[in-house]
Amino acid sequence: MTDAVHRLENGGRIDRTQRLSFHFDGETMHGHPGDTLASALLANGVRLVGRSFKYHRPRGLMAAGGEEPNGLVRLRQGGRAEPNVRATEIILYDGLVAESQNRWPSLNFDLGAVNDRLSPLFPAGFYYKTFMWPASLWPTYEAVIRRMAGLGKAAESADPDRYEKQYAHCDVLVVGAGPAGLAAAHWAGRTGARVILADEGAELGGALLGNGQRIDGRPGMNWAAGIGAELARAENVRLLPRTIVAGYYDHNALTLLERVADHLLQPDQGQPRQRLWQVRAKQVVLATGALERPLVLANNDRPGVMGAGAVQTYINRYGVRPGRRAVLFTNNDSAYPAAMDLAKAGVAVAAVVELRAQAPLRYLPELEQLGIELLVDRAVLSVTGRKSVTGVQIGKLNEAGDGVVAGLERRIDCDLLCLSGGWTPSLHLLSQSGAGLQWDAAQGCFLPGPGRAAASQAVRVAGAANGDFGLQDCLTLGAEAGNAAANDAGHRRRGRGPRKPAADDAAAPLPPRPIWSIPGPGRNGGNNSGSNGGKAFVDFQSDVTAADLRLAAREGYRSIEHVKRYTTTGMGTDQGRTSNINALGIVAQALDVPVPQVGHTTFRPPFSPVTFGALAGGQVGPLLDPVRRTPMHGWHLAAGAVFEPVGQWQRPYYYPKAGEDMAAAVDRESLAARTSVGLMDATTLGKIDIQGPDAAEFLNRIYTNGWKGLAVGGCRYGLMLGEDGMIFDDGVTARLGQGHFHMTTTTGNAGHVLDWLESWLQTEWPELVVYCTSVTEQWAVAALCGPNARRLLAELCPDLDLSPAAFPYMTWQTAALPGVAGGLEARIFRIGFTGELSFEINVPAGHGPTLWQALMAAGEKYAITPFGTEAMHVLRAEVGFIIVGQETDGTTTPEDLGLGRMVSGKKDFLGKRSLSRSDSMRQDRPALVGLLTDDPGLRVPEGAQLIAGTNPAPPQRGQGHVTSSYHSPNLGRTFALAMLEGGHGRHGEAIHIAYDGRAVPATVTAPRFLDPVLEAPERAK
């Protein structure tokens, strides 16, 4: 049963036994399974589906597929809402909700439509001409223009659905499942090759589903269903319906957007809404078909003007009668079958208007039998009606096609005008692949460049996309392309191939008569300026008329790339699918050059819009980026730590106790580490095992300081420079054996440092016998720090002599910890980053938590305090230890930080030469200093500028900036580190810090506020 007014009683691929409810602009309507939103709207008599982009003109559906420029809607609601979806691509489901766009207050009555009357104010390029002065007002104009123009509204809340990515590899990727694509996949599949067949439609068959053509004596759609069923059974073939191939990249990498659940009210449990495929294909067959062009004539955008092929699809596939009385206007053969289909569907066909002087004879008998009037060598000059077509004005063009022969005009009433301006092969993907296109003057379109040599990748084009518009060519050449692609991928068929399909109508169509723009009624040399006969649209989505293009040509634009940007033709979400060729033709005509000389615009991915959800895939929310956890992470969590991301690591920032804010917690932690004992998780530091007889020589070249003299058992701090002489990383490296070192790096730079070491070893110094291996993950590190650190550690390793003489600063030892995990072996380094008595205890990572708990338990009597990265920063800044990336910014030399003593004069090392550049040796380079604000309670923010005078107002030249700024409980006040021009010589100077609209007075000091405990003396008890 059907209750929709324009639904045919029989035919089509819809299931009339089931009724689906949907809502368009708040009105409830009904359709059937097999419908698209577009076909269901037409069946319900909805003509007006949107307002145009710039002029807010009423618009209706023109196409039945992905080339639809007008029928853009906002689909679904709330977080699932998606703007700018083509109604022709929305598969109808029960409960679907869609809204029209770009209208206010309603689709039927839209205030923005005043733009159409004001159109003289909005010529091509009005954006550039009108609102550019005064520049200060541009943001005001822009806000208004953006509201008036623009398309749909994005969703306002988070999308609740999942999206996924999928990688796939195949021998042959076939794009498009029309007759050529199906034949290609069928023949490729029979070789045993891995085949992927992707098509944007829900059903395989492409044009066969809509055009009523027959193969092997039965409907083409039945043939398609048979091939589809065989392919579905084949294990080596993967069918991807509802999938758009969006991008074609180098090395036959293609991206596909699969609409997994867009045809459902909401995705099933665990199912993604969409999936972005990244396919690597050995061979590609593009069977992307061709798109029907409209003809450019006055008011060709009125609702009720549709493509002839689209009308056929609505009748044959969806059982929809798209009008009551039709006129067809064509410059090629394909309108004739459409006229007959219309007549058979009960639509009165008032006339077929044939632009050519000769109609194709083979259709004439049937046309006559159906009583359809044929007007040869005539043109539709203009369309009447506003929200719906009411009739057409017909006339005869002169031979050149640029003027109207007077006195032969005639009007015909109709509510449907079917246009067929010829076919444009869909070569977006081929062009993206890097292949050249070639203009074919006879067909009036671009075709793949001559020979496969023009293709830079392993790609073939078959079917209408290749200019083979006849069905038999599609089938035969499609099969050949599929077979050849599989062969080239290394797969050959054993035995005979499938039976070759034969099209019932094997005649090839006659060539079209390309007239790019039909002159308006009553005009010679017709200009379609809009003042006579109405606007003649070329790009319906971007609201670009023939007059706009001619204006651009008159204003001096010669390159189609410039015309495109100036007029915005081809810049909509449809990528100019219906407009590109007409635009080229009109521009070429205006410039009086052949079309190839104008060239074509560059096709760029994506072919069709890809949602951000699909691009992000599953990498959202907690999975946005890896979160690296140390072995002690669970303990930190249980202890209530607040975490800080450092690179991808999550490190404890501080451990607030009940009632403590961050400042209080950091003060308590900083104090404990200098008065008793603190414990920090230092696992995240990069660790690199360096082995080989040349290891010391290697380090000598990598670091600024010398390494050959370091004794086994010793540790040394090192600075690494880039080739530019600027500090790149730092850390302590220990000598484990004669040819064996353990390097540590900063947390965030660990991977880069290993890459750096490897790149020098592999490319510049292959003669050095050294292996570098990351051991960051192997070791858990607990840093014990404070005056009680030694006493505490002694309890855990009673056999180790921890006295300063036996275990001095900057040495390491191995020791058994008898009480920990049954006698754990640890590497203990007497190094630290706080300037306090410190031991960094390394154990295999799996034992980290055990070690940590043992230290916490044994330290209870000293009120051991776990501390986070913020307290660590305070402690290190108190003693003037720098952090790479905080005090340095890639333009900092060792001398700038007062670390000139770290730079060896005796040997060569990476970056050395750059240190003697005049700029590296300037006396006024920014240098590390300390800062104490006059107000000891005031903490200036990091990044604050140092200024010469007391006036903080910009503009003025900064003298430097604050790099680190803290409150120190150990100093009883705030303090800061800064980079200050010529800072080494300015200690004691008064300076100001621009902060909060004030000039904060401060004193420059040495960058050290406490002396580090480097050697033996235990603090007074």
Binding site: R162, E164, K165, Q166, Y167, A168, H169, R194, G270, Q271, P272, Q278, R280, G618, Q619, P622, L623, D625, P626, V627, R628, R629, T630, P631, G634, W649, D689, Q691, G692, P693, G737, H740, V769, Y771, T773, V775, T776, E777, Q778, W779, A780, T814, A821, G822, G823, L824, E825, P844, A845, G846, H847, G848, P849, T850
Partner: protein, 202 residues
């Protein structure tokens, strides 16, 4: 003997154990327990080194890229022209030179570096294991180059993995310890479509 190690995924396995079993699950995830392993560095072209390895462990190091060989509970995975991962107990690494492998290689330029604590192996099995991995790993999982007996380094979403195909369409994924939680979560998320089961034990 030292006490038991903390497993990087202990927190997730515990949570998973509370869930009802999924007999219909398309993919099963399992966190393998600690296994000793080392990184072995040495030159493929150094015949004496290759020979010494064979003398020490009784089988040939895989010299062809991305190949795996094993013998007597020791498995060697090719990671690079001078780098292998050796799974299994080849003797203590420290003090240097004391282990079975180290003694065999004494006098040849080589390096042995402990790795067992630094990695987690996640076993991915079940009828949809390959489909799940295909959502996260860009390699051609159907390629004969990734049949059992091969291995490859790649990525799993945004973290590095060593992929070690197993018989029966299962995979062992080696991930760095700190990434184990992330790797487990992305696998569990990618498997939602097919149903995910968590297996316990080894």
């Amino acid at each position: 003997m030292t006490g038991p190690r903390h497993q990087p995924l202990a927190h997730l396995a515990l949570a998973a154990a509370r869930e009802a079993p999924r007999p219909d699950a398309g993919v099963t995830l399992r966190a393998l327990p600690y296994q000793p392993s080392i990184i072995l560095r040495g030159e493929s072209g150094d015949a004496a080194f290759v020979k010494a390895f064979r003398a020490g462990l009784g089988f040939d190091l895989p010299l062809a890229p991305n190949h795996v060989s094993s013998h007597d509970e020791i498995t060697a995975l090719w990671l690079g022209p001078s780098e292998w991962l050796i799974l299994g107990d080849v003797g203590p690494v420290a003090p240097a030179g004391q282990g079975r492998l180290a003694r065999a290689l004494a006098g040849r330029h080589h390096a042995i570096i402990s790795q067992g604590d630094g990695r987690q192996i996640i076993a991915v099995s079940g009828p949809r294991a390959r489909d799940v991995l295909g959502k996260l790993c860009p390699l051609d999982l159907e390629s004969p180059d990734l049949a059992p007996g091969h291995c490859a380094r790649s990525i799993l979403a945004r973290c590095g993995i060593l992929l070690h195909p197993q018989p029966g369409g299962a995979y062992h994924l080696h991930v760095a310890r700190s990434f184990a939680d992330y790797a487990w979560r992305v696998l569990a998320e990618a498997g939602l479509e097919f149903g995910v089961a968590i297996a316990s034990g080894d």
